[in-house]
Symmetry: C2
Subunit: 412 residues, 2 copies
């Protein structure tokens, strides 16, 4: 575990931020609160949604040096600025601000530290050949963030207004996006509850902020297939739970199983569910399997359905969409259905395994070589010196062409 | 949702804290890390556990005014000081510090904001008749905090050393404990991951801090029985999950079901599990039911077993211990076993219901009047103008006598 270089502390600004966060509230009133429990909204009083026209931009006076692109590591170095928006139950969303990247100054009783009032998104800004900054399906990220925040009693917001602001923020720090294929600016919208009391209830104040970290290609020297360990001793998500939300709460409990898998030489763990050992998802990615149908021999692309236990990945959805559009006409069957570890193992044993890959924002696709399960290693169809199957490679190419604007597509 | 008075910001100290939190690390090495994945500990190098002899105390120069005891509200006002201990993977636990209560200054990329690396405890310091400060079973809280932190890849610590420090901290802020039965100083030990990177992995730095909030009796004018709504549309915890840990992750997802119950006039929600509708726990309390056995008529005190889905409450354990010691000889059967909502409903219908109560640190016991389940209200055995059953009342009296030192007992 390496440590990042210490970042500059802009103390005066961090105090201003802190003071605004803890500003005393007027009569309690909810703005786009998912559920209201008391009729405490004064009828007729206007609560503000996010208003991009009120954006203030304070640029840094001490711009950072850019790192050489090859030294970029995911989520370790950040751009010059951050976007932040405060919300209070009485006023709604206050004016958005782009400020120098700076610490948050928070009371130790703030609810984010105690009850995990936090949710986030992962998305990227890309630079196209003309030097324009492009986002990829930001509407999906904003819809998911609203869904996550509502589930933990944090406020929701106008997604278009927030996409507008994220676009302005990405343009402000455009110089951090290296001018080469595979590079991008990883954007991390985060919402935290900022109420400073220990009573367990809906926060009356929140902070939505976006930070940005320049990143290089996940696989610098071409694909490198990973190996997974199927986890049956711990369970990530449950029907009726929150496994389909991008909540902080879904992440910390996953680290020890991940470390356990790593201690036995596996890159990530694969979450199984139930006695049936349904395949759900991998570490921080969704999973796709390409196998030939046992009866018909038809190629099938499988992924677990959105039953409330699966993160609704934007890359997952993009792969499904492209597969339906471009693989189905070539004879593929594209299926969102429950499938088990035994089905995969049988396909491998019977010569029907084509390929398996993970899907997520970081790598787009991540080919899988083998899966450890019940004391055996299930081979996922890659020849010894091949690091990716043709479907994984094809999906990466298709999606990157859209992300970098080589192809005109409604997903930009 | 009321807002607390803004607390003083001690900027210079908060910066010192922030700078230490982000101090660059030497070669990575784990101190009491629950699982180690790499052999990265230099053999022979000493990693520090918590050392109470290194405690530094900086007292405030601007002591707060004490609130009138009747104005105290749980977790809203805090004492003059806080206890804090930083941990790094390379150095272990750094010297403990008692400082003025102050904001935490944290980088927006800090892992506590993104992946819910956070766990906590709830405990109280009481003042006995001689004016001495007493803790109640702090060994149980420290054991649970170690278990919680290990589960999310945060460091563990020597529980006795931490109890020593918490004792010194409580004595430092002794003046905040009102001198009357029912009053105490609520102590909130909290551990957060402080690593400033977005990669999902075990944090290489952490902060353990304790803040204190003076509190009055949960029921100021005697017991007031609550009503519960059985929740079947959402699930708090599951086998193989983390429902037995005091993680922040277990709290935020519970707020919306709590608000839903409140919107229909219920004080808290009761978490059922599975098709069998097992009774697990209530909002933030464990649950006890006293019913007469269907066959024998023998009185039974029931609570759900510790199967990994139930918070291992210190009050729950204390009630079980006292019941075995003092109720069993009087003919009671004390049972930790799974029991269903239907069993409770049948007991009510058949005249075998004695009483039901919640158990937790805040109220000790919280009598239940009725439970909404499948469109009916299950009566929990209290006469109309009675607010607590005899067992709930007895347990509160027994436990308070130990907490306030009226009775000599090994739990002090």
């Amino acid at each position: 575990m390496l440590q990042p270089r210490p970042l500059r502390l802009l103390s005066s600004l961090s105090h201003i931020a802190a003071r605004r966060v803890v500003a005393p509230l007027g009569p309690s009133q909810r703005c786009r609160r998912p559920y209201s429990i008391h009729a405490d909204a004064s009828v007729g009083e206007k609560i503000q949604d996010i208003d991009p026209t009120k954006l203030s931009i304070t640029t840094t006076t001490t711009p950072k040096d850019l790192l050489p692109p090859e030294e970029l590591i995911f989520g370790r170095n950040f751009s010059d600025h951050m976007l932040s928006l405060e919300w209070t139950a009485s006023q709604g969303w206050l004016a958005p601000r782009i400020t120098p990247y700076q610490n948050l100054s928070l009371d130790p009783a703030t609810c984010v530290f105690h009850y995990a009032f936090e949710c986030f998104e992962g998305m990227k800004a890309y630079k196209d050949k003309k030097g324009n900054v492009r986002l990829f399906r930001p509407d999906r990220n904003m819809a998911r963030l609203n869904k996550s925040s509502a589930r933990i009693a944090l406020p929701t917001f106008d997604p278009d207004a927030m996409i507008n602001l994220i676009g302005q923020f990405a343009k402000t720090d455009k110089r951090f996006i290296p001018d080469a294929r595979g590079y991008s600016l990883y954007l991390r919208p985060t919402m935290i509850g900022t109420q400073r009391t220990l009573g367990v209830g809906p926060p009356a104040s929140a902070l939505l902020y976006v930070i940005a970290s320049p990143v290089g290609p996940y696989y610098r020297t071409g694909f490198k297939a990973v190996s997974l360990e199927a986890t049956d001793y711990a369970v990530r998500a449950w029907p009726g739970g929150v496994g389909d939300m991008k909540l902080g709460a879904n992440y910390a409990p996953c680290i020890v199983p991940q470390m356990q898998a790593a201690s036995r030489g596996f890159h990530q763990n694969l979450w199984l569910f139930g006695q049936e050992e349904y395949i759900t998802e991998v570490g921080t990615m969704n999973l796709f399997a390409a196998i030939k149908n046992k009866e018909t021999g038809q190629p099938e692309l499988l992924t677990a359905p959105l039953d409330g236990t699966i993160l609704e990945g934007v890359t997952r959805d993009s792969i499904l969409g492209l597969a339906r559009e471009r693989l189905a006409p070539k004879g593929w069957k594209v299926l969102e259905r429950k499938f088990t570890m035994k089905e995969i193992s049988d396909a491998a044993d019977e010569g029907r395994m084509m390929e398996i890959f993970g899907a997520g924002t970081a790598a787009i696709v991540s080919p899988v070589r083998k899966i450890s399960w019940r004391g055996r290693l299930v081979d996922c169809g890659l020849e010894d010196h091949v690091e990716a199957g043709p479907i994984a490679q094809q999906m990466k190419d298709w999606i990157e062409a859209i992300q970098y604007g080589d192809e005109d597509h409604p997903w930009r």
